[in-house]
């Protein structure tokens, strides 16, 4: 799960890093992606891993539209005001899911969702392994994209210094749109990887927004490497804690880690450059 947490948080961190806006509809966007992927699987029979690119593209467009229609208008507002439209967007998306797909828990059985293999007495779950590996690969791809490509460089420039970026002729509005869309597409990919692992229902988005938020704060706001490492720490902590604590205390564990990190590194593990 760590890799997936990292991926979801990466999207959130990217959006925050560039625009300073916290996407409170993040988990709901992921749920949308899960439903799109579910649809593609049920209607066309395409396995979620194969439809990943299509789903990411769909959510990319959704993110682009949200940014250009909504978020760009509120960038200069006080932070407390920025929260409201995005929380509302989350509610709208959640209830759209309720309207279109109903409240039932859906979990299609894909070709690989039950595959496992054993190394000695250790069970390896194939879909978890794929999810983890793909999550890491996608993260690396996004790093490369931001480091090497022109758009990536513009995104980093806009994140570093918005005024400076405008001065050197970067169309910051368009860059904002692209970064938000990229952040949304990243979380969409995470959703698709989750589909074979857990049932989807309209109400699961909140939990993931919260988890992503914890991870981002742990790793340092807006720091992409921090998001990945934070995600891994949280994933490992949650699964090992179950061995000696009741599962109902999972959230206590993740929040305790958050508090400990906040005590010793208030800027987050990798934060502090800004």
């Amino acid at each position: 799960m760590g890799g997936i947490y990292g991926l979801i948080a990466l999207g959130l961190s990217l959006i925050f890093g560039v625009m300073g806006v916290i996407n409170f509809a993040h988990g709901q966007m992921m749920v949308m992606a899960m439903y799109v992927s579910y649809w593609i699987f049920v209607l066309l029979g395409i396995d979620p891993y194969l439809s990943l690119v299509i789903v990411a593209a769909v959510i990319f467009v959704l993110g682009y539209v949200v940014q250009s229609a909504l978020v760009n208008r509120i960038l200069d507002y006080p932070e407390a005001i920025q929260v409201l439209p995005l929380v509302s967007l989350g509610l709208v998306l959640e209830n759209c899911a309720l309207l279109f797909w109903g409240p039932d828990h859906r979990s299609p059985q894909t070709a690989l969702s039950l595959k496992t293999f054993w190394i000695g007495s250790v069970m390896i779950d194939v879909s978890r392994l794929i999810a983890f590996v793909l999550a890491i690969i996608i993260t690396i791809l996004i790093f490369m994209f931001l480091k090497k490509s022109n758009i990536g460089k513009c995104i980093r420039a806009a994140a570093d210094n918005r005024t400076g970026a405008i001065l050197v002729g970067i169309n910051v509005d368009r860059i904002n749109n692209t970064s938000f869309a990229l952040g949304a597409a990243t979380t969409a990919a995470a959703g698709v990887l989750l589909l074979p692992l857990m049932p989807v229902s309209p109400h699961i988005g909140h939990d993931f927004t919260l988890t992503a938020f914890i991870v981002v704060i742990m790793g340092g706001m807006g720091n992409l490497m921090g998001a990945l490492v934070g995600g891994l720490i949280l994933g490992i902590a949650e699964s090992t804690s179950t061995l000696f604590l009741p599962a109902t205390l999972k959230q206590v564990v993740s929040f305790s880690i958050l508090i400990i990190i906040m005590l010793f590194r208030p800027q987050g593990l990798f934060g502090g450059k800004k």
Partner: protein, 428 residues
């Protein structure tokens, strides 16, 4: 300046008035439109129904309303309450939003609006709040669904329950477990109980463990695994379950975690004789059956259930499917039965006077209902002595909707075979 501000938002006074007028008409039409026809035929008898129509239990709440309404429509189409010159029934709708305090104020509103009898409310917490109110207002409260025993404790005079109590549910769970082990001549030795850590999950599984200890069955509960409602991942929990080496699993689940449990059992190759639900959802919903396919075969659940053999159910189910394109599930069927009982009581009372309704309710002996159980009769606490659970087992069938089969009690059974122990999940 202010004008500019307004037009920037794209709304001026006229547009606002226009839209609010349309919205107002819409609301008015939806609230008063349908009952208006009914009001024309005097007199009408108002039944207040408070259900969780919005919030996390919205699916169920809407289903409950539909069940109530279906019975009202049917009774009206058959000529209404004959002892009161064919008086028609009218359903007043309240929405508890799944919260007790709101349920109470909604019930209060409906009583002020003239409800002669109250029904609902699916959740025990809401039921407690409404029953207290009904005692104060002296309005009979005939609950369709709500299970907690203590709702009818403390000598409440106006409160009756068509549904089964938690004690009844747990007794059924033990009774059928004994029946299955006797019938098959096999006895699991070690068991693990799992439950969601919400009020229902904790209470139900805690009660089940206590009842198991008293039951005299030689099954040792070696571990109890609790996890939060809405969990995404049970792999670590399943490792713990596997380490406990159980022969049987007693899950108290909610829709969603049943799917994860079954798949993890498969992936981690946990060897079991079977899965036996003491009384919880998560194992019989059409979507779950479809998604889990072979993995859910042979799961047994003790649950208050519909009676597909009864003509009442068949008739109601056909009407329900025509109207809502869904089958009449067990909760909606209980909502249907609730209104049926209310109509029967008023018919015999011949009046909406609360005292006459109470007297008639105590004499209730109602057989033509759509659920598994004997005739509905109320004991001195107001609980239904005819309430029964059924034991259902998911069995292979080409028709997805027919895979859930009643295997006990005998007179309601749809399948005469019970599969236990079940083949291991990965050998199917």
């Amino acid at each position: 300046m202010s004008e500019k501000r307004l037009s920037m938002n794209g709304i001026d006074r006229r547009t606002f008035l226009k839209f609010s007028g349309v919205a107002g008409l819409g609301v008015a039409a939806s609230t008063f439109g349908v009952p208006k026809l009914l009001r024309a035929a005097p007199p009408t008898i108002k039944i207040g129904s408070v259900q969780p129509a919005t919030g996390p239990l919205a699916v169920i709440g809407v289903g409950q309303r539909r069940g109530n309404q279906l019975a009202v429509d049917y009774i009206n189409s058959m000529g209404g309450i004959k002892s009161m010159d064919g008086a028609k029934l009218e359903l007043l709708l309240g929405d508890s939003e799944s919260k007790p305090e709101i349920g109470r104020s909604e019930a209060d509103r409906l009583i002020k609006g003239g409800a002669a009898v109250m029904t609902g409310p699916f959740q025990s917490g809401v039921a407690l709040a409404i029953s207290t109110l009904c005692e104060q207002r002296q309005v009979p409260f005939i609950m369709d669904v709500a299970a907690l025993d203590k709702i009818t404790d403390k000598g409440k005079k106006y409160t009756f329950r068509v549904f089964i109590t938690v004690t009844g549910l747990l007794n059924g769970g033990i009774k059928y477990l004994k029946m299955v082990t006797d019938l098959k001549g096999v006895m699991p030795k070690r068991a693990v109980v799992t439950n969601t850590a919400d009020a229902f999950g904790k209470g139900m599984s805690g009660g089940f463990i206590k009842f198991m200890e008293k039951s005299g069955l030689p099954i040792e509960i070696v571990d109890r695994v609790q996890y939060p409602l809405g969990i995404h991942d049970l792999s670590a929990e399943m490792a713990r379950i596997k380490a406990a080496k159980p022969d049987i699993l007693f899950p108290v689940s909610r829709p969603g975690d049943g799917i994860i449990l079954a798949r993890e059992l498969y992936k981690q190759r946990v060897e079991l004789m079977g899965i036996y639900g003491p009384g919880s959802p998560g194992w019989y919903e059409p979507d779950v059956i479809k998604d889990l396919d072979k993995l859910i075969y042979y799961v047994m659940v003790n649950v208050p259930w519909i009676n597909p053999k009864s003509p009442v159910y068949q008739q109601a189910n056909a009407a329900f499917q025509k109207a809502h394109n869904r089958y009449l599930d067990t909760n909606s069927a209980y909502a249907y039965a609730g209104v049926q009982v209310i109509a029967d009581v008023i018919e015999r009372a011949g009046s909406t006077d609360p005292e006459k309704i109470l007297a008639a309710a105590r004499q209730t002996n109602f057989k033509d209902h759509p659920v598994v159980g004997g005739p509905i009769q109320f004991d001195e606490k107001g609980d239904n002595t005819g309430a029964l659970t059924a034991l259902i087992q998911v069995q292979p069938d080409d028709d997805l909707l027919k895979r859930v089969k009643i295997v006990a009690p005998q007179e309601f059974a749809q399948s005469d075979k019970i599969v236990f122990p079940a083949p291991q999940l990965w050998e199917r």
